[in-house]
Symmetry: C2
Subunit: 334 residues, 2 copies
Amino acid sequence: MGCHVAVVGATGAVGQEFIRVLEQRRFPCTDITFLASARSAGKPITFGGKQYAIKELGEGSFAGVDLALFSAGASVSRQFAPLAVKAGAVVVDNSSAFRMDPNTPLVVPEVNPEDVRWHKGIIANPNCSTIIMVVPVYPLHRVNSVRRLVASTYQAASGAGYQAMLELERQAREVLDGLPVTRKVFPHQIAFNLFSHNSRIAENGYNEEENKMVNETRKMFHDDRIAITATCVRVPVLRAHSESLNLTFERPMSEAEVREILSRAPGVRIVDDRERNYHPMPLDATGGDDVLVGRIRQDISQPDGRGIDMFISGDQLRKGAALNAVQIAELLIR
Amino acid sequence: MGCHVAVVGATGAVGQEFIRVLEQRRFPCTDITFLASARSAGKPITFGGKQYAIKELGEGSFAGVDLALFSAGASVSRQFAPLAVKAGAVVVDNSSAFRMDPNTPLVVPEVNPEDVRWHKGIIANPNCSTIIMVVPVYPLHRVNSVRRLVASTYQAASGAGYQAMLELERQAREVLDGLPVTRKVFPHQIAFNLFSHNSRIAENGYNEEENKMVNETRKMFHDDRIAITATCVRVPVLRAHSESLNLTFERPMSEAEVREILSRAPGVRIVDDRERNYHPMPLDATGGDDVLVGRIRQDISQPDGRGIDMFISGDQLRKGAALNAVQIAELLIR
């Protein structure tokens, strides 16, 4: 069994990663169409050893398409995903457009694969920071409910797209060469600096990224009781996100139990060598599929034994975006 | 009134900052002696428009010295601080050697200035991450006791010394030029990467930096009930530390009350513009005296209103080290 796949936003950082992930996982494509804006139309893309030309995204782009992987921003998804569905495709959407829509499942295959079943044409891929967090948190939550979670993120430039990664490199060189630092993508200098996540701050004082981590986690866990606070920060790293997580469980939870559960959790790799002081690093997470988990320890600020601290890193472009979307597609064709 | 000051570790990153801070604050020196290892002896230092030659630190270095500012590591402090005291000097020690000694006061002037009174010759300067945290936390704690604090740090290279700052710059250039990345100071690549703080991990699973934040805060607050957990992370920033703080107070604490208290707290500057998404950044904290505080918001994970989140940045070499030590010295001569 195979299908005709369309990649929408093929030239972006996530779009490019879609291509690599589909190739590496030998996704059963019978045909593939690469779609992007008019600006990129005609440009060549190599996939599976064959050359393709990028086509301009338009209303008629989805004829014959079975599966459309969208990663071109929320407004493109809002406009074109319903057209793709009307043309008979199933959409896996990497944007925020449909994530909190009650009629759209939001899925991380390691967490709630069963939710793909009730889709009505669109399945939403969660926010990158949320995905990377829930992969190690959910297996613990299944055994002993997480009652409260305090997250602080260390987010890479890639989350703001390919141009943001280039901006980090360009600015780093400008700083090293003593030149004036130029800004095009981020509101503040990212090289040798960091700043509160560049998304709009909502009524409740949280920025959009933080509210996504709270709301999307609850939706996927089907548990509105889990209390979450997050502080999202952009750091001068190219493409993997890290997160410092402080968890409070319903019942006491030992460090040993956490290690035991995570050692057999899908999509998780424990990197926690106290002797060598070797723990998750974005550089080690880059290009890999697993979320790295380390610094697992009993939280000394919760003497009732219900607290656990950990530090995680995961590739924002892979598990945080393209890989998770392709895994959703694999669930669909299974 | 003036005094003869000795700066021990004059060539280090903190030592160099001592010189700038003493000059800028017109510290009343009648004489000044710069001490360092044999390797640096004879090198020139300009201070207050005059040239000085660095002298080699030795047993007889403290004759006639009234105030000795130490920043040459814990083993140098352990060996030479008692000799300086014996010679009649008061020592302000930036190392960890005496911080938890019950006979040595540990002081941040905005927190516990009264503790300088009972010194027995040595006053300890706290760890940089601790100082930067307690400056905004203590004024809140005085009004409404902090019961629990979850801290995640974003620590600059400067905390590991001047060579570490050079390593970050050198590695950044190596990465940009596609060259192999060389390591001399840090155990892992710091450029475009981050890692769990490079201090030894203790029995309880926390690294030394994290345990310092817990224990030193309790000592200065004279409050062992305050429950603290910290995750310390080194990031590719040159010289200011940032921290994501989640606080739980004894009683409900409103965002407005926090702003009101911090707006008149010494050593604190509120940088919290939600409209422009402008918040504390290490680049803005660099070279300044204040701890910048922003992202002040009610913690939505604590529906009883007892939780506050905030994000702070402070210059590690100034308030985190040299400035705080000189402020202690100013308390002494007052």
